[in-house]
């Protein structure tokens, strides 16, 4: 049974070395990874605010809402500039053409969309994937709940050859807007 013992010893030693090495790398890179993720998040939030905030410092407060309230989104981000609430934002995920489409929607004090950014999607490259283009996303600023594609009798131009993907983004915008309007009072009340 010597061979079995040797097998085990070698295997466990390898695992041990691997684990220690990996954990060290993890600890070393952890802060950087978190920083990069935070930066990305802040960039995404800033992208949904009016243009003048791009260079300004903003505070982002997470306001989690209970899951039962809404199936698609459950955190509202309160964006403040010098303790004045600029906008509320939330992430909405719906089904697109090739998979899920995740969108961050920003809503101003006047209950209109301040901006929108597609943060994750798996739409067809070259067609549906064009929903990430600014030309498309910029159309959403200043819209209210009546938002619709031109094709469906509204005012948003859809991305050429990808009405399903465009419709998914519009749906996100609508749901996010509705969600924020519905919960605005709670958020305002609790966060003072």
């Amino acid at each position: 049974m010597d061979s079995a013992r040797k097998m085990l010893t070698v295997l466990i030693t390898t695992c041990l070395c691997a684990a220690v090495a990996l954990c060290l790398v993890f600890v070393m890179t952890k802060d950087d990874i978190e920083l990069k993720q935070r930066l990305k998040f802040v960039r995404a939030i800033k992208a949904v605010l009016p243009v003048e905030y791009l260079s300004k410092e903003v505070d982002i407060i997470n306001y989690p809402l209970c899951k039962e309230d809404c199936k698609v989104c459950n955190i509202i981000y309160i964006v403040k500039e010098k303790s004045k609430v600029v906008a509320l934002a939330t992430e909405v995920t719906v089904k697109g053409y090739g998979g899920r489409v995740s969108v961050i929607v920003g809503v101003g004090e006047d209950n209109k969309i301040t901006g929108l950014k597609v943060v994750q999607h798996s739409e067809t490259p070259g067609l549906g994937a064009n929903i990430i283009k600014d030309v498309f996303q910029r159309q959403f600023a200043g819209r209210d709940e009546t938002i619709k594609l031109k094709k469906d009798g509204g005012n948003i131009d859809h991305v050429t050859g990808a009405s399903v993907s465009s419709r998914a983004v519009v749906k996100c915008a609508k749901e996010g807007l509705g969600f924020i309007i519905k919960n605005r009072s709670i958020v305002n009340y609790n966060s003072g």
Partner: protein
């Protein structure tokens, strides 16, 4: 275990054979999953190539070091642990310093573990060679793979989106052939490039 003696020349040979003669992608047709999946643009392709080269060099090195103490029966689990350690290291480093490429490559970074090139080189070469030739082999194979992936992704990016590394290079009015950056385009590009190499091989072979 018999280990062939080596000198500088053999080291060079080990290094260069991976680039042309035994190019892992075009000659041995190994590791085609990442070759096809992440080559939608040149920067993704390069990122994948560099990551794979890193893993290949270090896994070859360590496997060559431990080759004599590993019992035959647990060889594969141990190789896999060694390889995946380096893969995870690469994954963490990429997430920390090049998050965009990390995100674009997605699931295919962890999948370097099961890339046939790495397991294949570990089994076929590193587990039988001394450390230096193993590293040279890993480096050569890695560079060969990187070159192949860059060629494929370059072709796909130019035709499929009319850009190279994100810069527009095609004439104005060029409407990109989207199919090339979709899954079928990957197969088409790979098939035609392989065909080209085979044709050239036939031509050269006839002359000799």
């Amino acid at each position: 275990m018999h280990v062939a003696p080596f000198n500088i020349m053999t080291l060079f040979n080990e290094f260069f054979k991976g680039i042309v003669k035994e190019n892992p992608t075009f000659r041995l047709v190994l590791g085609i999953c990442p070759t096809l999946a992440v080559t939608t643009s040149l920067d993704n392709g390069l990122g994948m190539g560099v990551a794979t080269t890193f893993v290949l060099v270090f896994s070859n090195m360590f496997i060559s070091i431990v080759r004599n103490i590993v019992p035959k029966k647990v060889r594969i689990p141990i190789f896999i642990v060694i390889i995946s350690t380096f893969v995870t290291t690469v994954e963490l480093i990429m997430a920390a310093y090049v998050p965009d490429i990390h995100e674009a490559l997605g699931i295919f970074i962890p999948l370097i573990v099961v890339n046939c090139i790495i397991m294949g080189r570990a089994e076929a070469f590193a587990s039988k060679a001394q450390v230096l030739p193993a590293v040279a082999d890993g480096l050569g194979m890695g560079i060969g793979f990187t070159m192949a992936v860059s060629i494929i992704s370059g072709v796909r990016e130019i035709i499929g989106s009319g850009t190279i590394l994100g810069y527009e290079i095609m004439f104005s009015g060029y409407s990109p052939a989207v199919i090339m950056i979709l899954p079928p385009g990957a197969f088409i590009t790979m098939g035609l490039i392989l065909c080209f190499f085979k044709y050239m091989g036939n031509l050269l072979g006839r002359k000799v």
